[in-house]
Every structure is written in C-alpha cells, then in structure tokens.
Symmetry: C2
Subunit: 411 residues, 2 copies
C-alpha cells in the first residue's frame, strides 16, 4: 500500500466534480465539520429563505400565505422533492412531524394492515428512538403485539409467518454498518411480513431505491445529510400499493379528506396525505426544502462515489497513521453507510481535544468516535487534516499524559 | 344605548395601557388583521431571532448549539415561560410536536391512568382534530375505549362512573363560546374522571388558572394568540400530581430518562419531560419563545379586560349598524373567548369582499364570519373601521346586487 500524502488529497479536491457544492454552504472558518450525520451544515440560501418566510410570508402576507405561499402543500411539495432522492415516486413521501412520530404512525398502520400477525422484529442496539417507539407500541397494545429484538445476524432467520413487520435502520447510527435493503426486504416479503426502513443515516448520503427494492414503508430524518436545519421535520414513505389501505392512529385534521370542511367524522384523505396529522412546521418545511433542493440538483451516484472514496481514504490513513484506533465500521464499502466509527478507551477525551481545535465529530458511549462523511461539503483534504489532528492528539497524549488527563478532566 | 362614534374609539386607544404593544409587532400597512385567532402576527423581534438561530446557532456553531445555545432545553425552557400564562407551575408545561400529537399522547396516557374505565366524553362540533384524534384512539383501542360525542348542554349530566376522561376545547373555534373551566373540571373529578382541556383558542387571549381549577391535562396551540409563527410547535400540560404515573404511547428518545446514554430499553424521564417524543423543531421553539416573551411581559388580566371591551364594542356596533348579521358568539363576556363569530347567508362572499380591502378575518362553512380579537396589537379604532367596512360591503350589496354576485363568483 502506498503511503498517502497531503498532495494526493489536494489533487482529488481539484478533480472533484462535487467541489463546487461546498460553496453552497455556510461553514465556519478553520473548522472541519465531520458531524453532518448528526446535524447537517447550513445552506447559504437557508438564511434568505428564513428571512422570506418570516418577514414576507408570515409578517406581511399573514394568514393569506396558506394559499399565496403554498403553505398548505408544504408537506407534499417537499415530500415529492425527497422522493427521487430515495427512489420513490410522486405522491409517496410526506414531510411532517418527527422521525419518532412518523415511525409510530407507520408501524401502527402496518400492524393493522397485517393483522392476524403479532410480531415486530427489530435489531438490538438499533437507534434508541426506534426501539422506544416500538416498545411504546407494544405496551400500548396490551399484549396484542410482541416486539422481538435480535442481534443483526439472527434477524433474517427469525422472520416467520407470525411476523407482521420488520423495522430496521438501514445504516446503523453507531457502527455505520448497512443492511442489504433489497435482500432483507425480499426475505421479509417471502414470509408475508411488511418492511419498514428508517433511513435517517442513509438519506442524502447515498443512492437509495425504495421502489426497486419493493419497500413498504420508510421514515427518515431531515436534519442530517439533507441539511434541513436543527429539528427539521422528518419524512415518511408509504408505497402506492398500500396507500388506500393504511390508516394512521394519529388521525389529525390535515390527514382528513376535506380538512377545511370541518366535519365531525374522520374520513382519511386519498393517498399518502392521510398520514398527515397536525399543522406542520411551515418554517421548518421551508428550510428543509432549501437543503433538499441542493440534494436533488446533484447525482446521488456521485454523492455515494465520493462518500465511499472519502471513507476508504479515512480508513486507509487511520491504518497507516493511527493504528491505536479500532475500526468499528465495515471496511468494505458496500457494507457501510457514510459515517466512520472508531473506538478508543480514551475516546471521550480524544473527541473533546479534537473539538477544542474545531475538528467536530461526535462521541457515543462508551468509547465510539463517530465521523460523518458529507460529500456535498467535505473536502478530501479535510480527511487528511482530520487524521493529522488525531495523530497530534495521540502524540500529545503519549508525550504528555498529565496534560491529556487535564483535557479529560475539564470536559 | 348611546350611538358610538369614531371619536370614542380614538379616545379608548389614547387611554389604552396596552397600546404600546402594537409597536412590538410587524403589521402590514392599511390592514386590519382580525385573524390572530388563526395565525398571530409577527413580533418584530422574530426576524432577529430567526437570523440568529439560522446564521449563528446553526450556521456557525453547528452541533455545538445543542449545549451552547441551550437547544437541548428548548422544550422545557419555553414551556416554563408558558406556564404562568395558563396558571401552571414550573415543570408542568412542555413545548413540542403539534396540538394533535400532544392530544393523542395525553389522552392515551390519561386512559392508562384511569384504566378500568372506558369512556371518553367530548363535544359535538369540537375542533375537528380533537374529534379525529379521539376517533383514532378509539379505533386503535379495538373496542376497549368508547368515544361519546355529545351536545354541549348534555355533557355535564353524561359524565359518570364509566367515564375515564373528558376532553373539551375551552373556547369553541367556531362559535367562540367558552366552557366554565372550574365547574366542568370539578364535575368531572366528582365522578372520578380526568379532565383534558384544549386551550388553543384561549391561551394568550385571557387569564387562565389551570392549577386553581385542578385541571389534569391540557394542550394548546403556539401559532394563534401566542404569535409563535406558522406551524409553531404546540404545548402540553401535565399536573405535577400525575407526572410520575403517566406514560406516553409515543415514547420517543427525548422522553427517556437518559437520552444520551443510548440504552436499548425505554425508561421514562422524571417529570413532564417524559411526554417528549422526537427532536423538537429548534427554529420553531425559538420563534415561539419570542411571542411568549411578549405575552409574559404583560398582565393577562389587562389582556382579558381589553379583549372583552373590544368584543363588547364590536357586538354593540354590529347591533347598531349591521342588524342583518346574526351573532353566534355569546353576548355575555363571561361566556365567550376572544373571537366573535357572526353569520350571514352570503358570509363567504362578504368575507372575500373584506379581504379584498385588507380587512382580514376568516370564514367557516357554511355561513360563519369569524373575527379574532387580539388585544396585544388590535386598536379600538380597528373595530370601528372593521364595522364600517362591513357596512360598506353590505350597502354595496344592497345597491349593486349584480356587482356583489361578481365578487362572489370570482372567489
């Protein structure tokens, strides 16, 4: 293996067809932002959007903006823009609520759809809100639903004729490892169960093909790789073939077939709109739309290609220069998403030392350092600099253990 | 009854202790905004807030803002600010999700708390989302819960030993009539049932005393009289005495006792925080906080006093000058909220004609014209001008029926 140099990374930046995208984002100077898998960076247009929505649409047009600024269609309009990013069609995606709320709506609806079956299967160590929401659903069902939580390798074999629904996060939030969406969905269907994918750590970081994989349901997050802003609304996907047969337990007024008729009885809207609940965050939808517009302007295959390349280089550099870290994320690109996790027993202090130098990743207990690879605004050279900073921190630790303990103590 | 004149209204404006508040809001010129009960006006500080949250907190501080800008406590921080507005205490109110989602969470939690009882009582013609959410809960319970929907006058007598929960909207969205919170809550408790109030059309428009009335649960809207912006997050209230015993069916990660421990098993947080679900809209919470800060800076009794006075004057002027309208809202101030509804068979066209002159109220089928009284930014003279515009529209109609039909045809 050749030894990598900074020059190599600079050359890759010069050749990068996505390099221009970085200019679309506001990024603080002298900062390497490797936490876009937790909160994506701010598109420069987001500020003009916020100004327009707040000052003109709210401040000046007031209630009239429900029609004149199309607030009333924000959920479906932005949903339809997300659709091509995840391999879905028009009328299959809605922007609304949080990932957690959407997961509850879809899991409950799926269980009704596959009634007669009682089991939900999910993964040990899945993102906590996925586990907690399913636990809430189980508790609330008073014994009618059984949640089965299994290790990754045991899941496929456990899907059986009692299984109503399989709920998995496509890319694991901590390890960065990725399920084979097509194979798992196929196995799930083979047993007559339905498939719900949480795309929070996939959407915007790789090309996805929900309909090609015949996925039934999906949810995902707006504030990570879609760069929709803090607490951005989430999205949900319901395959066309299920839309006439699902009903949301959270049957709020905007999911009604005629919300402005103000009828006393709930009649679900046609299509995916029936999964709407209350009034969505208008400002949140508009800010998310800015991030989604950037995402739809680029080829997701280029995004994925750059993500893999950045990840491969990061792994390679770590092996060459920081052998004291253990790679948690699969080395094989087809098995991982777009963040790379490594472990070290002093992981928390190491991450604090990086953050103190404006190199921002995040830490997940007990010992995981997590670095998000965001092809839209991350440079190849950022990977070089990031590993250089890790080398420096570790050298500092080795040479000056007392000082290192101080960093640890104050953080 | 003396005949009112414009001079009288001008004098009241000159003497109004709340007159200065209008300057805190951005209001389009030559507009009378009488729809603050649907979407409140924009506080001038909202724009600076949006700029700061988007550019500085998101754009510059990025993920660090969860701590440095206290995003992590936004729900409880803004909730604690709403508490005094509704007569609640610190630690009883959360800002999160939509009114619809919060209603689902609290109604489901209340039913668990009062298990053994199966009946939910609510009002015919209640705001649709309240009815629809309870219908969803009933359907989802598969026969374990019975929703009983009754005419207003039949509700008190129907509360019995089978009743688990009474869910009512304090001020009716269409008629503007108001329940006696203290009496209804007392009767509900007398029968061993729990009380959940929807405060969407009350909060910010009048002084409320949830704890004095011993209310169990409440939800409310952020984008009406609280002036939190379009699709602002909603709030929920859980009385301290119930907090250790309630559990949300939507048990998302932020309601966990240690969300950042990323444990596999849900353990509810102490206090009201257990009713949190997913990540809240950070931008939405911040904008709402601006509106709430204005509201907490004024005496709610002054707000209510001005609301009553504006409403009384509006009713009096209508009687004197527009006898062709029928008043739907109770004339007696103690029986109404802060919007006034009138009916006319040509109601839709009349409202369109008003809106064409920048006099903005709203229309609710089949024949209701609804005008929101917002004491923070509505002038006494606005009431005079509003009725004058109604007089002009009706005169126009009488004198030029053909032209009026044209207005109706194009809207």
């Amino acid at each position: 293996m050749t030894t990598l140099t900074a020059e190599h990374f600079k050359r890759l930046d010069a050749e990068d067809p996505l390099a221009y995208c970085r200019e679309l984002f506001e990024l603080p100077e002298n900062t390497i932002y490797a936490d876009g898998n937790s909160l994506g960076a701010m598109p420069k247009d987001a500020f003009a959007c916020a100004e327009h929505v707040v000052k003109e649409e709210w401040g000046n047009q007031l209630i009239r903006s429900w029609v004149s600024s199309d607030w009333i269609n924000a959920s479906t309009r932005v949903g339809d823009k997300i659709a091509p990013i995840i391999g879905a069609s028009d009328g299959e995606v809605l922007v609304c609520d949080s990932t957690s709320v959407n997961l509850f709506k879809l899991a409950a609806a799926a269980l009704e759809l596959n009634s007669g079956r009682c089991k939900i299967i999910t993964e040990i160590g899945n993102f906590p809100t996925d586990l907690y929401i399913l636990q809430g659903l189980e508790k609330f069902s008073k014994g009618k639903i059984e949640l089965v939580v299994l290790a990754k390798d045991d899941i496929l074999d456990a899907i059986d004729e009692d299984t109503a629904l399989v709920v998995l996060t496509h890319v694991h939030y901590k390890t960065g490892s990725r399920f084979d969406m097509e194979a798992v969905t196929a196995k799930t269907h083979q047993k007559g169960a339905l498939m719900l994918w949480d795309l929070s750590h996939s959407v915007g970081a790789m090309n996805l093909s929900l309909n090609d994989c015949e996925v039934d349901f999906a949810v995902g997050c707006g504030y990570k790789y879609l760069n929709g802003g803090p607490g951005a609304p989430a999205f949900l996907f319901v395959a066309k073939r299920h839309q006439d047969n699902v009903q949301s337990p959270l049957s709020g007024w905007l999911g009604h077939s005629s919300p402005f008729a103000f009828d006393d009885d709930y009649v679900p809207a046609n299509g995916v709109k029936r999964m709407l609940c209350g009034t969505p965050s208008v400002v949140g939808c508009s800010l998310l739309e800015v991030g989604v517009d950037i995402m739809t302007s680029v080829d997701m295959k280029l995004i994925r290609k750059k993500s893999i390349q950045l990840g491969d280089l990061f792994i390679q550099l770590l092996e060459q220069r920081c052998p004291e870290f253990t790679l948690v994320t699969p080395k094989e690109a087809s098995l991982r998403g777009s963040h790379i996790s490594i472990t070290h027993e002093e992981g928390y202090a190491i991450m604090q030392a990086l953050i103190a130098q404006n190199i921002i990743g995040d830490f997940r207990a007990p010992n995981v350092l997590r670095f998000g690879i965001t092809p839209l605004y991350m440079r190849y050279l950022d990977i070089w600099d990031l590993v250089q900073a890790l080398v420096d921190v570790m050298t500092f630790e080795k040479w000056n253990n007392e000082a290192f303990k101080k960093v640890q103590a104050v953080t």
